[in-house]
Structures are given as structure tokens and as C-alpha cells.
Amino acid sequence: MRKKTYLARVSLLLLSIILIVSGIGCGSQVEKNSQEPIKVGLLVPYTGVFTSNGVDITRGVELYLNEVGGKAAGRDIKLVKEDSEMNGQVGLQKTRRLVESEKIQVLTGVVSSTVAYAIRDYVVENKVPFIIANAGACDLTREKASEYIFRVSFSNGQYEYPMGQYVYNKLKIRKVVVMAPDYAAGHEKADGFMAGFKAEGGQVVQEIYPKLGTTDYSPYLTQIKEADAVWVHFSAADSIKFVKQYDEYGLKKKLPLLSTGDLVDESSLLGQGDSAIGIISALHYSAALTNPENEKFVKDYTAKYAEGPNMFAEQGYVAAKVIVKGIEATGGKVTDTKQLLDSIRKVQFDAPRGPFKFDPKTQNVIFNTYIRKTEKINGKLVNTVIETIPDVSDRWMAGK
């Protein structure tokens, strides 16, 4: 017996020596690398209309990195931030800089799908794992899918489709008017909702697509036809203008307003005020979720930034966690891209939004969809969760 353990110990020691020697043999590169920080590129808008989304994502990323002491698998993580300026060409230029000069190992961020499309080929050609923290264009994880591309946020239509079913089956609404801004995401989101709604037998009586960034919605509001409800997608500044004007024109009392979660994003509620009360929306997140991860997230976030988180902040937080968990599963060997991709694909954890995992086939997130109602509780507007639809994948919408 003793001889056996002795032998085992000696062989283990020999093996270790061989490993270490071969490690040195492979070049001091490996050892040197492990001293250097792992660089993560963060590309989001810090100028322009979607600045607030960029800032929220950044805060989420930084909150998580802080939480793990800025380390993954014992190695320091250095975050390199760049401003995409919401422009495809600028985004591509900045990505080049991140990859070629900064030598980042992982890229995350990107609010706009236009920017995501613009950098897609470059990222894939240069074999940079890219964790999308917002951009929702469906094809990024369908036609244009790649093993290098992951998405932690949503595919446009992913939570709108089950919302369409919910509206028909649970709210017993038969006829809707659909409104969304006239750009790719607006159409894809509206299509997702309408597909789900029509699949159950619902009828869309009117579709209106105003220009993105419309200042005055009154001509559209005056035109809305007879229906049981109005479904809309508007985000950021547009969402405030729209909700206030919808109320102003007395429509709130006549036609229930249904929407994507973007419309009543926590950052918009303040500007919307009581006009937002009663809106029913679908999203993969609500700051009002009561799971322990979210309660911790909301508490830490509020303590650090003096305001509550929203979906973008959560997406940044989750993106950072995916990266850190992925690196940890490789034991810190980020230079082995294949292994890193493999590890990321398998990452699973409980996020503030609920259980998080990727669809291994598309590398797009699978999440719970929450149906929320905007309510005023203790003088504060919140999106109370009234129904949870579990495990919604993009393939649900694409017909599986």
C-alpha cells in the first residue's frame, strides 16, 4: 500500500515537473501573460441619443467587476472603454483599436444593432469572443450567427412574441393597434408581438411606424382607430414623449397601453410620472423582481450610483458575469480561444433577471419573460411582475 502511494506521489511530482518545464519550454509567453491583466473591451455609446444606455451598461459591468475584485481565475481584468458614437464606421474603427492596439481578449457592449453588424465580420475574422450586451437584431444570432458571437440581452421579438400570446389569452384582447419607430428594431419587435398575437387568433387593425425621434406624436394619436388596446415599442427619450402625449390626448382612459419593457424602463418612469401607471409591458427584467440575486443587485447598484438599475444596467452586469465565469472555467487561459468559447457557451447562473443560460445552438440567451404592470407603490413608480413565462428562447419565435 505504502509503495503504491509513494509511487503515485513520485509520478505526480514528475508530472508536475514535466508540466512546468514544458510550460517554460513553450515560451515564457504563457507565464508572462498570466502576470498581465486580461483585457476586456467595452464598446458603447457615450455620445448621442443612446448615451444613457451606454452609461447604464458600463455601470453594470463595473459593478460586477468590482464585486469580484476585478479578477477572474486569479488574474486581473482590465476594462478598456470606447465610445461607439452610435455609428457603424466609428464602431468598427474603435473595435480595430481595441483588438490591434489594446490586444483585448474579449469584447462586450454595443447598444445599436447597426454598430453590431458593422463590426461583426471583423470580430469573427479576428476570432474575438464578442458578448453582445444589448443590440437585438435577430440575425446577429441567426443568419449572421457565429461561434464567436454570444448575446446576453435579447433577440428582437424574443419577449414580444409571448407577450402577444399573453395579450390574447389572458387579457382577452382581440383587436390592437401597433405602433413602433420606423427602424429595424422597431419593426422586428412589432413583428414579434404581432406573430404571437396573430398565432392565437388576434387581429391587428392598424400599424403605424413614426420616425425614430419624433418630437410630436399628436397627429398619430388623433388617428388611432377603434380597437381593444394599443401595443407600442418606444425607448429612451421617445418613450417619455409618447407616454405623456398618450395620456394628454385622453387615450389612456379609452385604450389600455401595452408595450415592450423599454417603454417603461426604470430610467424613463421618472420623466413619465403618473402617465405611466397601468401600462402592461413584457421584458426579461424588472427592478422589482424579488429573487435574492436581484435584491442584492438593486441594493449594491443603488448604493454605488445613487439611482436604481434598469434593464441595460442588468445586461451589463450579466455580460461581465458571463465573461468572468467563462474565464474562470478555462482556469485563466484566455489565449486558448476555442476553450474560452466552449466555457462561455456552458456558463449558467442565477442572474438578477432569474436563471441565465445560452441556447447552445444560437448562442443567444434563454430567459424568463416577465409580464409587468406599472404601478405606484409608496409614491414610487415600479414595474410589478404579474406573470412569469419561463425559458423563452429566440427559437420560440422563429418557429423552433
Binding site: T51, Y209, P210, P219, Q223, I240, K244
Partner: protein, 288 residues
């Protein structure tokens, strides 16, 4: 379109048009008198809305917000004119670069102070709610915009037509050299007109605030609209700004109503049509 809808859309068009007038009047006057295309004009509007919001929150009074914001922005306008623009008369390209630079700078300052989250201004309580016109709801606040817009248009008209200052300003628009040749200190009027432009933009910002809000990026949206109004109406005339605003307001409102998905188009079609038939704008002065 049913009658009730035509009536409501007309009211929508008038209220939107008069809001545009508050924006464009200042831009047009500054250009007319001083030859400066002030690309920071949209920033005056947006800053006006932010400053108004702060004052309303502090004092609880919409009226104080309106007045305070307009006065503060007028002072900013004077400061910018005295310190920077005065040195750049007749140097158009430099003016464009400088005012464009200011647009970025002012918005970065606004972003730094107020953050990127869109803000919305409260309505004065007595203008809350809506009334029914032929069975359709129309917000009382929009009537307020129509009234304020018309009052300001009339006051401006009286000021420019009936006061000595107004006469000098109008003369200055036509022939700057002659006015200064008569021993009138035209530079003082330049500062005044700049202050007036910023004052009007800020009023527009506060009045538009409850329905449009204030957020980063609004400055350029507003600038484009104001430029469209000034191009259509004709540069440098108050009347031009007034009718141009109403025309753009109507074009956009009815464009949205009739071709809901091509709204952006209608403004540019209107601009193109006006420019084809009257290259100097509806009421612009022909080049002599």
C-alpha cells in the same frame, strides 16, 4: 378624414407650429441682423428646458421657471456674443465652426450636470387635462401653447414695428453700414438681439418641455426643425419665421396623419417645393 379629426389635426398643427415659431424666431432674427447662423440655437432651447426644470422644482412655479430660464439664457447669449461672436462678423465659416463647437460644448455641460436620462417638465396645474371637441379629446395645454405663441408673436411684431429699437433693428437687417454710419451703436443692438434670440429659445424649451422633454440629442433635433422653418420662411424676417413655422407645423402634422410612415419626408418635400418656387423662402428678401 372626418370633420372632428380635421379639426383636431388642425389644432395639433397650429400648436406645434407656434412652438416651432418660438424656436425659429430667434435663429432667424440673429441671422437677419448679424449674418450669424447660430448652430448652438438648439442648445439654447434644450438648456432652457433644463434650467426651467430646475427652477420649477425649486420654486414650484411654472411661471418662474419660464421667466427665470429665459433670463438666464439671455445672459448666456449676451456673454457668448460679447466674448466670441463679436470677433467673427463676416467670417461665415469660422462662425459655423465656432457655433457648432458651442453646440457640442453646451450639451456636454448639460450631460455632465443633468446626466443622460431624459427629463420631463411638469405642466402648470391649470393647464392639465383635456377637453372634448366634437367628441375627440384635445389637451388644454396645447391651447396654452397656441395662446402663448400668439401673444409672443404679437409682442415681437409690436416691438419690431412700433418701437424705435425695432426700427433700428429692422434697418440694421437691411443695411448695417448705414445704421452705424448714422452714429447708432449697432454693436449694442447686436448683443440685444442675441439675448432676445436665446430668450425666445429658452421660452420654447420650457413651454415645449411638458410634451417634448429635455434630453441629450434634443438640441440637434430642434436645430434641424428650426433651420427648416427658417429656410422655408425666409431668412431674417419675423413674418417669415411665423408663417414658415405654421407651414412646417401643418406639413408635419398632416403628413403624419395622411402618410403615417413617411412623416420625415413631408418636411423636406415642403422645403423643396418652397425653394423651387421661392428660392429665398416664403417671405425672404430677394438678393439685390
Amino acid at each position: 378624414m372626418e370633420l372632428s379629426e380635421i379639426v383636431i389635426q388642425t389644432l395639433n398643427g397650429i400648436s406645434y407650429g407656434l412652438l416651432l415659431f418660438l424656436l425659429a424666431a430667434g435663429l432667424s432674427l440673429i441671422f437677419g441682423l448679424m449674418g450669424i447662423i447660430n448652430l448652438a440655437h438648439g442648445s439654447y432651447y434644450t438648456l432652457g428646458a433644463y434650467v426651467g426644470l430646475v427652477i420649477i422644482q425649486k420654486t414650484g412655479s411654472f411661471f418662474f421657471g419660464l421667466l427665470g430660464s429665459a433670463v438666464i439664457l439671455a445672459l448666456l447669449g449676451i456673454a457668448m456674443e460679447r466674448l466670441f461672436f463679436r470677433k467673427l462678423y463676416k467670417r461665415e465659416l469660422d462662425q459655423v465652426l465656432l457655433t457648432f463647437g458651442f453646440a457640442y460644448l453646451l450639451m456636454d455641460i448639460a450631460k455632465w450636470i443633468w446626466g443622460g436620462v431624459p427629463r420631463s417638465l411638469p405642466k402648470p396645474p391649470f393647464l392639465e387635462g383635456s377637453i372634448s371637441i366634437l367628441g375627440e379629446a384635445f389637451p388644454i395645454y396645447r391651447f396654452g401653447i397656441i395662446v402663448i405663441g400668439l401673444v409672443i408673436a404679437v409682442l415681437l411684431w409690436l416691438f419690431l414695428e412700433k418701437t424705435r429699437t425695432g426700427v433700428i433693428i429692422r434697418a440694421g437687417v437691411d443695411d448695417k453700414e448705414m445704421v452705424s454710419g448714422m452714429g447708432i451703436n449697432i454693436t449694442l443692438y447686436f448683443s440685444g438681439i442675441f439675448a432676445l434670440g436665446a430668450f425666445l429659445a429658452a421660452i420654447g424649451g420650457v413651454i415645449g418641455g411638458p410634451i417634448i422633454g429635455a434630453y441629450p440629442g434634443l438640441d440637434f433635433e430642434i436645430l434641424v426643425l428650426a433651420l427648416a422653418v427658417v429656410v422655408v420662411g425666409g431668412l431674417g424676417t419675423l413674418k417669415g419665421a411665423f408663417w414658415g413655422s405654421l407651414l412646417i407645423g401643418f406639413a408635419e402634422t398632416f403628413g403624419k396623419a395622411i402618410f403615417p410612415n413617411f412623416a420625415m419626408f413631408t418636411i423636406y418635400v415642403t422645403m423643396a417645393l418652397v425653394l423651387i418656387f421661392k428660392p429665398e423662402g416664403l417671405l425672404g428678401k430677394e438678393e439685390s
